[in-house]
């Protein structure tokens, strides 16, 4: 996974509280066998003029030219609530979102973001940058800076920081302990031979 160091991008404002995972990716959009092919379904219920259609609704903020390449999303409180489907994080990541700034997150969604290379940043109230002005996020210093020089600092737990900063997913992180795991399995195989096939 791509390492997260410093990110500068316009931030697309989608300031609604309780945006749930079904709004992020409606279940009707989850027909694919794989984790990919979901970006088009991102916010499908809001993004297109018709259910199941693909005609962009010009009023929806993601469709506005100023935000065409936004990699930061500004959200409302309790972002990512609802079903624990990981497709929500997959769809956001595939679309290109690398950071979400919101007053608060659903904990499962937050974990899914971290595992998929998206930095969830809890700041209340969110820094509403002047329209279409970029924000800069520095993970190492745990700060968000806007073009006017205003600075917001944010909290992140060490493990999430290590994963995002190192471009590691959960498997990479665990595999750093591979030797310990294999030693544990070797001893366990002797103690519980019946558990091994």
């Amino acid at each position: 996974m791509e390492q997260f160091t410093t990110l500068t991008s316009v931030a697309v404002p989608l300031i609604r509280d309780n945006i749930d995972t079904d709004a992020i990716i409606p279940s009707r959009e989850m027909t694919s066998v794989s984790k990919t092919g979901l970006a088009d379904g991102l916010f499908a219920g809001w993004r297109y003029t018709m259910i199941g259609g693909r005609d962009p609704d010009p009023d929806f903020v993601l469709n506005q030219p100023a935000y065409a390449n936004a990699r930061i999303l500004l959200g409302g409180a309790n972002f990512g609530c609802g079903s624990s489907r990981e497709h929500a994080a997959w769809a956001l990541a595939e679309y290109g979102i690398r950071a979400i700034v919101a007053p608060s997150f659903n904990p499962i969604f937050r974990g899914n973001c971290v595992r998929n290379g998206i930095l969830p940043i809890a700041i209340d109230p969110v820094p509403l940058a002047a329209a279409a002005q970029p924000l800069t996020i520095m993970l190492k210093d745990q700060v968000v800076v806007d073009v006017a020089g205003a600075v917001w600092s944010f909290e992140i737990d060490e493990e999430a920081k290590a994963m995002l900063g190192g471009g590691l997913d959960g498997i990479d992180l665990t595999l750093l302990r591979r030797d310990a795991i294999e030693a544990f399995r070797d001893a366990d195989r002797v103690a519980r031979p019946w558990a091994y096939l």
Partner: protein
């Protein structure tokens, strides 16, 4: 130093703890990973795409259950337009990863939570995970078995471990004996009605007490199956002679010396007398009546003899409207359009036998579509060996190939909108069995009796006719 007793959960957790990761999270050794074609193929493909291998392929298994057709003479083709892709992708990925696949046409194929005990894949004291919420069923064998997400499945496959937030512990003691006519399914629904569908939120539930010990393995599987409807992390029952007798000689169970040494260890798994739980619930089994749900949450259940309760919340009102019922309506006598026997809750041989006992010499009501879907191909074969299929067919039931079938709507076959279905499955959510369907959860006996009566009916009354 005082010694503190441990629960069965703690014994299994301690034994599998590779590292304490802090914050209540442990790196836990995973003994078995099970996959099915709806979520397993995704996990395997994504793992391969990342260039990772399955660490212990001999301890991983895959089956075809969710999307495969259950119509006789089935092939890879499905009614769901994109279904075939899930089947072929899972087949190829399982083959490439070198894991055992119970494919279409394999005598061992079936619903993952039915075949795992059948094949002796789940064993007491093991950790077992599957990207499916009803994995909790398998705690019936004394294993720590729980449902996970797709990325976690990849993690378990690649590393033989999972990062797990340690759950709290709850004991649910069922004292006394189940009355005549009350089944394990009724017990599960009784618990949900009484304590609510958030009643065990985040806990590993140990089912204990005389009535639980008296259940056979299939009954325990039914009880543990609905722990996810109870919002539990999972459920577990202390393994005993009933479990050992069930497992002895199963294909993937240990044999010879390994079996003997396993049983010695399994006997030590029961929670210690002085073990402490974070929460305790107790009920009297004698209070359990045959149950049926009236709403769109499994907790919206009442005794068959009862009435739809006066709604107390907006959710109740919405459920009533969806179900086309009103408060005070009697559940008995509600006309049904369809009856479904099957699923990982109640699709095992004993379920089919008890339903067949009611159907023998009877016929389903003319307007009712009745379907029986054995939980596995070996359940189907065993039922046919006893002639049960004849009973179902003669009674006017369809007799299907094994799978999840219409337990849930995958995008293909379903019951009709606003059709009232009496079903032996575990979820009565809106549109669970197809867009707009109205599902009433009940035991296989109640489903069979209702199919015959053409309306929700009490099997104990039918029995005496």
């Amino acid at each position: 130093m005082t010694t503190v007793g441990r629960t069965i959960f703690e014994k299994i957790w301690d034994r599998h703890l590779v590292a304490d990761l802090g914050g209540g999270t442990g790196l836990v050794l995973i003994d078995r990973v099970l996959l099915h074609e709806r979520t397993g193929g995704v996990a395997l493909e994504s793992l391969a795409a990342a260039g990772r291998a399955v660490n212990a392929p001999t301890q991983a298994f895959a089956t075809m259950d969710h999307i495969v057709d259950t119509l006789p003479g089935r092939t890879d083709r499905t009614i769901m337009p994109t279904g075939t892709a899930f089947i072929t992708a899972t087949r190829q990925a399982a083959k490439a990863a070198g894991i055992t696949l119970f494919d279409l046409g394999d005598a061992r194929q079936g619903i993952v939570h039915v075949i795992s005990p059948e094949q002796g894949i789940v064993l007491p004291g093991l950790t077992l995970v599957c990207p499916d919420s009803h994995t909790c069923s398998q705690g019936a064998l004394g294993a720590l078995a729980w449902g996970i997400g797709s990325t976690e499945a990849e993690h378990a496959l690649a590393t033989s471990t999972l990062r797990v937030m340690r759950p709290k512990m709850m004991r649910v003691t069922v004292n006394g004996q189940l009355a005549h006519g009350a089944t394990p399914k009724d017990l599960a629904l009784h618990l949900l009605a009484r304590f609510g569908s958030a009643g065990a939120k985040g806990h590993i539930v140990e089912y204990a007490g005389e009535a639980v010990r008296a259940l056979d393995v299939e009954g325990r599987l039914t009880l543990c199956n609905m722990a996810t409807e109870f919002s539990a992390f999972s459920a577990i029952v202390a393994p005993d002679e009933t479990v050992f007798d069930y497992l002895r000689g199963r294909p993937f169970a240990p044999a010879g010396d390994a079996w003997d040494c396993a049983v010695v260890e399994w006997r030590l798994l029961a929670s210690d007398e002085d073990a402490a739980f974070d929460a305790e619930l107790a009920i009297d089994a004698g209070d359990v009546r045959p149950m049926v749900t009236w709403g769109t949450s499994p907790q919206q259940a009442v005794p068959l003899m009862g009435q739809v309760p006066p709604g107390t919340s907006e959710a109740d009102a919405r459920a009533l409207e969806y179900m086309g019922l009103h408060a005070g309506a009697r559940t008995l006598g509600q006309p049904i359009d369809a009856a479904f026997i099957g699923s990982c809750t109640n699709g095992r041989l004993s379920d089919l036998r008890r339903a067949a006992a009611i159907l023998r010499g009877r016929h389903v009501a003319p307007h009712v579509r009745a379907i029986c879907v054995p939980g596995s191909t070996s359940v189907r074969a065993a039922a046919e060996a006893e002639g049960l299929h004849r009973v179902f067919l003669d009674a006017g039931f369809e007799w299907r190939e094994a799978g999840c079938s219409m337990c849930f709507f995958a995008g293909g076959e379903s019951f009709g909108s606003q059709e009232r279905v009496i079903t032996s499955t575990n979820r009565n959510f809106e549109s669970r069995q197809g867009p707009g369907t109205r599902s009433h959860l009940a035991s296989p006996e109640t489903v069979a009796a209702s199919a015959v009566a053409g309306c929700i009916a009490d099997p104990t009354v039918l029995e005496s006719l």
